[in-house]
């Protein structure tokens, strides 16, 4: 291992610009003559309306005021959901229209019905106040359990009973039979609270139109600019792809929320072309709360059947998943193929059945947030396992051990469609037990008790499916796209390298990790490698960043392009060194004729390729510049065990996390410093969901948690120092043996925290977020 190669904790290339204030986020960009967009949003969760823009149009500096009628007249299409779920009855899911601006009905607080474009930001905002909207408030429904009741307010005429789909996976008959012979059944309701993603950089868009070339350039806060371009071109029909450039510059965090194609960037780009002036929009934080797609929001009935020895015989889960008012870009696949397919967990449970009803409500659309479906699955499985252990008076580590899929059982076909490729679950459990000092827990509990505190410990042995995904598999399940990734590795004549990657970085450190990979494989010095991402005019068509896929899929694409570079380099070297191609070996940046001291370094090969004075032009094209698309053979399956230890003050209900152990298996690791940082951040996100974060609406559908005063985010003093270890079971089917690490913490953490608190207070009836009030009430209920 070199100090900048694979496995080294290289300090990040991108940091100099960020610590000096030289990052280039979207709102930092301006264009001469730009206008500002300000959107008019509904204060009602459900209302019919009429709108009068005449006063606003006359305000100083106003260039245009557009409504849904203007959009409809322009012929633009609406927003789409890119994954069609096939229901139990064989019918496709119901995807009601989602116009860019509402026409006559608003369906959630923040639903958008007009936009003002003006010379200044304040001018646009002032004029938006003058847009007269007559609302007729209608009854609203926000919770899934209410929305499915007979007589509930209806969100869309197209979706009777508010049902988007009724879907199932697994073998119902076999699972029912397993319950028949069970010695014990653990049953309970599991609520997964709605969270708001809250990247600290608000969403934004800046669009400019070049009337000479008829080209629109849209700068936007996106995790996947090509997907944005595809949707805006093919479905919104704003402009053909060859006349639309989408650029995502430095992006200040995504967590899923910047995957999706939102109305604001579409309208901003359309307005820029209409007005022939650049138009800029930046969300205020309250708009982020109302309109960034939310996450989670499930209510599930969970049943786990066990035999007399605590072996899992069957798992039966029935889930209501909130979709919000419209189907967001990938909303439909989150509570199905990213959720129910993970119900096997790390266990040999021999029969599993899960049914999911996706439900429309008068709330902000719900889609993927860090983990996307997998945190919800882990929460179901790991809460059930822990409760079963308690009911059977089994040690929580022991019940897991009895049920683990063993390390020699891979590949392992699950009951819910996935084929686990590799794993060693007892390994990470043992590591986590060591890190937390499990043997010392009883003593620590005693000492907490003597101080008047309740101490609890909670486990979460999670599995995730990352590196999404084989295009043929997702296609057969209803995805409208393939999920490969692209890369281009380009040598310049002087021997330095530019890598164009389809994986977008918004904090993950690709500029560093990918450069390590290239430096390691090609022997080019780390600081002579540039990583370029986020611009459809520069990089090959790409699918972008989500589902912890960047290294496993995007990195594998780079690796594949590197293979091509080496193969071509060998041919060039063979010619120059007058040897047979088969005799050329490549190592540490040098092409060598096997068994001789004849060699040529890769920079010389590159020079020869671009200055081809002595070059086999009849056999090879000049240039050293190779592209690759990598389509994975399977998902990757990171896993691990997190253990949380809490101390609860019974007088106040306040929970302190006092210890945290994380033992994760991400396969091979390129940069351990970055991996550790990803685990920290994921755990913080999951702890936030468990202890603090909960999106709330009142009965009329008003968003009660619409600012940082009302929505509690994890802060520096929420989190304890964490003990982190990794185990390495390489992924067997991608060239790097890597799996992905970005979501693990968020997937593992909620179950670990809630298992610990319920252990401490002695009742399972507690929902997230476990605020002091809720914990205090739960304690009172046990007394």
């Amino acid at each position: 291992m070199t100090d900048t190669g694979i496995g080294a904790p290289v300090r990040r290339k991108e940091d100099y610009r960020f610590v000096t204030g030289n990052g280039r986020y979207l709102d930092d960009m301006n264009r001469p003559g730009q206008c500002y967009a300000y959107f008019v949003r509904s204060p009602y969760a459900h209302a019919s309306f009429t709108v009068d823009t005449s006063a606003a149009s006359k305000m100083p500096g106003v260039q245009a005021v557009y409504t849904g009628a203007d959009i409809a007249a322009s012929g633009l299409g609406g927003l789409i959901c890119g994954w069609t779920i096939t229901q139990k009855n064989g019918e496709p899911h119901i995807a009601p229209p989602h116009p860019l601006l509402a026409l006559d009905t608003v369906r959630h607080v923040g639903d958008t019905l007009a936009v003002v474009i003006a010379d200044t930001y304040h001018g646009a905002k002032d004029a938006a106040e003058q847009v007269v909207v007559e609302y007729e408030a209608l009854p609203a429904v926000t919770s899934v359990t209410e929305a499915v009741k007979k007589g509930a307010p209806q969100v869309h005429a197209e979706a009777p009973g508010n049902l988007c789909y009724d879907w199932e996976i697994g073998d119902k008959a076999t699972t029912d039979a397993a319950f028949e012979k069970a010695a014990h059944v653990t049953r309970f309701e599991v609520v997964n609270n709605r969270v708001i993603p809250n990247a600290i950089e608000p969403r934004a868009a800046l669009a400019e139109y070049d009337s000479g070339s008829d080209e629109i350039t849209l700068y936007t806060t996106s995790q996947n600019p090509h997907v944005a371009r595809l949707v805006i071109s093919a479905f919104i029909q704003l402009a053909p792809e060859n006349k639309l450039r989408v650029v995502a510059p430095d992006v200040g965090g995504g967590f899923g929320s910047k995957i999706f194609i939102y109305l604001e960037e579409c309208v901003t780009a359309w307005a820029a072309r209409n007005l022939k002036r650049p138009v800029k929009w930046t969300a205020e934080r309250s708009e982020s709360f109302m309109t960034d797609a939310h996450g989670r929001d499930h209510v599930s009935n969970v049943e786990l059947a066990l035999d007399g020895d605590g072996k899992f015989l069957g798992l039966r889960v029935s889930t209501l998943a909130n979709m919000g008012a419209y189907l967001s870009t990938f909303a439909s696949c989150v509570p199905t193929y990213l959720y129910a397919t993970l119900m096997q967990g790390q266990y040999t449970t021999s029969a599993i059945y899960c049914e999911v009803k996706a439900v429309f409500t008068h709330t902000t659309p719900v889609d993927a947030v860090r983990g996307a479906g997998r945190p919800e699955a882990t929460y179901v499985v790991e809460r059930a396992v822990e409760e079963a252990a308690r009911e059977l008076k089994l040690d929580p580590a022991e019940i897991r051990r009895r049920n683990f899929i063993q390390a020699d059982a891979f590949p392992y076909q699950t009951q819910v469609a996935l084929l686990y490729d590799s794993g060693n679950y007892p390994g990470t459990l043992d590591k986590a037990l060591d890190l937390i000092d499990y043997d010392g827990f009883a003593k620590r509990r005693e000492s907490s008790e003597s101080a008047g505190k309740l101490r609890g410990i909670g486990f979460s042995s999670y599995i995730e499916a990352c590196g999404i995904a084989p295009s043929s598999v997702v296609g057969s399940l209803g995805a409208g796209v393939g999920l490969y990734e692209s890369a281009q590795v380009r040598f310049n004549p002087t021997g330095n390298v530019i890598v164009y990657t389809g994986s977008h970085s918004h904090g993950q450190g690709h500029e560093t990790t990918f450069a390590q990979l290239v430096s390691d494989r090609l022997g080019v010095p780390f600081d002579q490698i540039e990583i370029v991402h986020g611009d459809t005019a520069k990089i090959p068509f790409a699918m972008g960043t989500y589902g912890s896929r960047s290294l496993a899929v995007g990195g594998s694409a780079i690796s594949k392009a590197i293979d091509k570079i080496i193969a071509k380099g060998k041919k060039i070297a063979a010619h120059t060194l007058e040897a047979a191609v088969e005799d050329i070996e490549f190592e540490n940046g040098n092409f060598t004729v096997a068994g001789t001291d004849k060699q040529m370094d890769i920079a010389s090969v590159a020079f020869s390729a671009y200055v081809p004075h002595n070059y086999p032009s009849d056999e090879l094209e000049p240039g050293l510049d190779e592209s690759a698309f990598y389509d994975p053979a399977n998902f990757t399956f990171p896993f691990g065990t997190h253990v949380c230890e809490v101390e609860v003050d019974p007088e106040t209900g306040e929970t302190q996390i006092v210890r945290w152990a994380a033992a994760d298996d991400f396969g091979n690791i390129v940069n351990p410093m970055i991996v550790e940082g990803q685990v920290h951040g994921g755990v913080a996100h999951g702890v936030g969901q468990a202890l603090l974060e909960g999106c709330r609406f009142d009965d009329s559908g008003q968003l009660l948690t619409g600012s940082y005063m009302d929505y509690a985010m994890p802060r520096a003093d929420t989190l304890p120092p964490m003990q982190i270890a990794t185990q390495v079971t390489p992924c067997p089917h991608n060239p790097l043996g890597v799996k992905g690490c970005g979501e693990a913490g968020a997937i593992a953490a909620p179950a670990a925290v809630m298992n610990a608190i319920t252990d401490a207070i002695g009742t399972r009836d507690l929902t997230m977020p476990a605020t002091p009030e809720k914990v205090w009430r739960a304690i009172q209920s046990t007394r």
Binding site: R11, T20, R24, D28, A199, E201, P202, V251, I674, V683
Partner: protein, 161 residues
């Protein structure tokens, strides 16, 4: 109608005309082009807009530009000297105290304010001090480590903010 704002910004005298309702952060970002100071929440909770005014930390989204008239203002752009990172910036880089980087300028400015009043902060003092700064990426672990290391380096090097 506009007001004149004259201040010392990162050691240099500047004088600009601004609408009276202009916030300090808008003046810095939109009129003076110093975009290292970020806006994350508009309501002074996230701390991405934190700058120093007369040597103390201020959330520039909650201060009118006019109030900075006559003041000494320092932003993240004024922290490094001659292209060389300040020890606190270096510590953030060394300890991976940032991911997406959006909250980072505010974090660094807040850390420098902390070290001014407490040159040797404990871990829990740092965690408490950061109550006004949100980060969604790092889980704060490495930010806390970075600030401790940065404070140590400043003590050893005799540096101030």
């Amino acid at each position: 109608m506009s007001v004149n704002v004259s201040m010392t910004l990162n050691g240099k005298a500047v004088s600009v005309e601004a609408e009276p309702r202009t916030l300090l952060v808008s003046l810095l970002r939109d009129q003076l082009g110093l975009t290292g100071t970020h806006v994350g929440c508009d309501t002074s909770q996230c701390g991405a807009c934190l700058v120093h005014v007369n040597g103390r930390a201020v959330k520039s989204c909650t201060m009118l530009a006019a109030q900075a008239d006559g003041a000494e203002v320092k932003t993240i752009e004024g922290v490094a000297r001659n292209g060389e990172l300040h020890p606190m910036q270096e510590a953030f880089r060394e300890h991976h105290g940032l991911q997406c980087g959006f909250c980072t300028p505010g974090m660094i400015m807040s850390a420098l304010d902390l070290v001014n009043v407490n040159p040797d902060p404990s871990e829990s003092e740092i965690r408490g001090w950061l109550e006004g700064n949100l980060c969604r990426c790092t889980g704060y672990q490495n930010i806390v480590k970075a600030i401790q290391a940065g404070a140590r380096a400043m003590r050893e090097g005799g540096k101030s903010s």
